[in-house]
Symmetry: C2
């Protein structure tokens, strides 16, 4: 597993004068901890959590909010060795619910066989499942994989990718009949026919892949969750909820849908400015425009005024029109930009927390640390190099004896907001049956 | 929480030439890991685990066995800070089952207000429960506690002990109506009347206190568990199961019951010697004689021949006749002695592993390190000072890429044997309704 370099082994600093409201938020979350945990228990009893999930957070000091919720988390290798036991224990509880008598798991990863970082993630995920007491085989969707292929990784792990075989309504690999399929593939490339209509559970369900899932639907659920949560602990939900709007049909190359973009952008910027005024925040509002379906941060732009979507040059249009595995962007989500005021190192590099959950438990996290990006840019962008910085503490041990922004309490706040996004994902999953 | 001193922060060495069979055992447990975990899942589904439990193990190199199973574990402060998150996560799962809608826990500790080590344990237990999201108040059984009393601990924690109040069939403390009572009191002093017949669950149930519980009953269940487990993975259960015999009525002061002791001792020594011969173990068999009810290792002796129980002098008789809170020893269990060949430091000090579990999960452990004891003596004895040495790794992340006696794998073996004892305790609990 990845170990952060010594120079980075610290907790990022929140470099803003505007920590007041976040300290207030952290204090409020700490004080309401018993009520919050009881509420989460009740919520996840009503709507079970997905088997795993990672949430990208942005911490502006005055606001702490999720900006992306990934149901096929691909960075388990960034968590650090010390979180492995928490992952194992949570995985045992999670699988017990999916498949009480299961022993065998077919892990179906992405088909990026040249992305060694991703494959290290698969190796760690396999190790978690094996430590939890399951037999794991890796079923690859690589179209031209006729026989098992072994990949050696920099960590020393070896992955054996095997062609998935289907017999009737069951899938497996040679000599292995698994109890369920664990998807670690976000289905950007479409729903694989070989997994359609099988009798084994596919977890998370294929309907949550990017073939069908929409960020706007997630954030609609999140908006409800934030509202209910805010009412419960008497908090303006805006402190944890980014505004968003959706445009149905946009073709950046052809320039169609630009009016929808410009109109929604204006509405969003005005709403954000109103909130900034209400709380005396002296910052310029901005909006992130990205594909409503899809991952990997392709086709993401920052807009600060309506002109920004009117004046796209050819290169920018082309960048926005492309997405993972070549899907053209058609539906677009515009989301309130949340500044990232956490930095680490000298010169300061922007750090964005990513929280990992298995079942309803927070099991760890890391910071994406970027040296070349600003506080108002998306940090999960194509071709971007980031340094993972594993959290120094887990997110489930708040300590009221320490300051509200002490590491365990900051991490607790991350864990609360991340679980709100997890609950939104749970509702998304329930809505898809 | 206790942090092991740097000099002790190592994994104990197994200082015996007889590691062969244990390496074999560890190898076998590793190889059968998937089958073992599936079996535990099935067993704990049929018979739910007690909420918590600690198990004292002895590691002879050729044999790894539990010698004591404590249902009111009193050393959470010895686990080390890094195990806290695992404890919190497991406690959440455990309480969810006991009291799904609970927010309030009444923690009822032992009444040793001058034992600061014990009170640090209570403070850590409270922190685990609070981090898990529960409101915790400490209800004391101290007979003369008329109003709340606050104790300051060396760690800096403060404990507020409050008198338990009963209204009708519910108990609580002033202004606090808990959902359940968490007992951390082994009831050596009897069942407290104030907790009899209340409508809230008492966890673990009072029937498992030392007022009623018998070690021999536990080890009868353990014997069955070891036999079933041995059959499952093709292992002679003797490698994990200590022989034992029971004497119903012994009065050491009066000398009655001596024939029963001598007779059973002879049977035991003969059976052990036969096993030693079978496996070529060149050691002298020994037997531990202790109270069948009770804890704290009072009244424990080592016997190597029948003469040892015939020749007790007055001082030895007196020591054997006394037990915790002055209960006279009447029923006696005689248990195959298991050598402890794990040592740490220079000069080597004997180290005995203690494994902690919450629900069905191993959450950590420590070594009791004694400088003044031999490999064939009980390490949990009255007035004995021990250094706790927190495990360096949790017990749930075996690593097949390493040697079978590498730390994660040694700890995995501990975790398996400890969970067998946990399962025996679960069956004990089920038998008491």
């Amino acid at each position: 597993m990845n170990n952060a370099s010594p120079a980075l082994s610290t907790v990022p600093h929140l470099t803003t004068a505007l920590t007041g409201p976040l300290l207030r938020l952290e204090t409020q979350l700490l004080q309401a901890q018993v009520a919050i945990e009881a509420w989460f228990r009740e919520q996840f009893r009503a709507t079970p959590a997905p088997i795993y999930c990672s949430v990208d957070l942005r911490n502006a000091g005055f606001k702490l909010a999720p900006v992306d919720t990934n149901l096929f988390p691909a960075g388990f290798n960034n968590l650090g060795e010390r979180f492995l036991p928490l992952c194992v224990q949570a995985m045992q509880t999670a699988i017990e619910r999916v498949c009480p008598r299961s022993c065998g798991v077919l892990l179906v990863p992405e088909s990026h066989t040249r992305n060694l970082f991703y494959l290290e993630n698969v190796a760690v995920l396999r190790r978690i499942l094996e430590s939890a007491g399951y037999e794991v085989r890796i079923g690859s969707l690589l179209p031209d994989l006729a026989e098992p292929q072994t990949v050696s990784l920099p960590s020393g792990a070896r992955l054996r990718l095997e062609p998935i075989e289907r017999q009737g309504d069951r899938v497996g690999v040679a000599g292995f009949n698994p109890c369920f399929v664990l998807l670690n593939n976000d289905l950007s490339g479409g729903r694989p026919a070989i997994l359609e209509g099988i009798s084994q559970p596919v977890v998370p369900p294929m309907a949550l892949g990017w073939t069908q899932r929409r960020k706007s639907e997630h954030f609609r659920h999140y908006h409800d969750v934030a509202r209910e949560f805010g009412a419960r602990i008497d908090l303006d939900p805006w402190f944890i909820d980014p505004y968003f709007r959706q445009c149905g049909e946009v073709d950046f190359m052809a320039g169609t849908g630009e009016d929808c973009l410009a109109g929604n952008l204006d509405v969003l910027l005005t709403s954000i400015r109103r909130k900034y005024d209400e709380y005396g925040i002296d910052r310029e509002p901005f909006v992130i425009i990205k594909a409503d379906a899809g991952s990997y941060g392709m086709g993401v732009m920052t807009a600060r005024s309506v002109d920004d979507v009117r004046d796209l040059n050819r290169k920018e249009r082309k960048r926005m029109a492309a997405s993972k595995e070549g899907q053209a962007v058609r539906q677009v989500i515009m989301q309130e930009g949340v500044y990232t005021f956490e930095t680490v190192g000298d010169p300061p590099a922007v750090a964005e927390p990513v929280v990992y959950m298995i079942d309803q438990h927070v099991v760890g996290g890391f910071y994406r640390v970027h040296t070349g990006r600003g506080a108002d840019e998306n940090l999960n962008a194509p071709g971007m190099h980031f340094e993972p910085l594993a959290f120094v503490e887990p997110c489930n041990t708040p300590d009221c004896g320490q300051a509200p922004d002490a590491a365990p309490n900051r991490f607790y706040a991350y864990g609360v907001v991340a679980r709100l996004a997890l609950l939104a994902a749970a509702r998304e999953m329930a809505a898809h049956g």
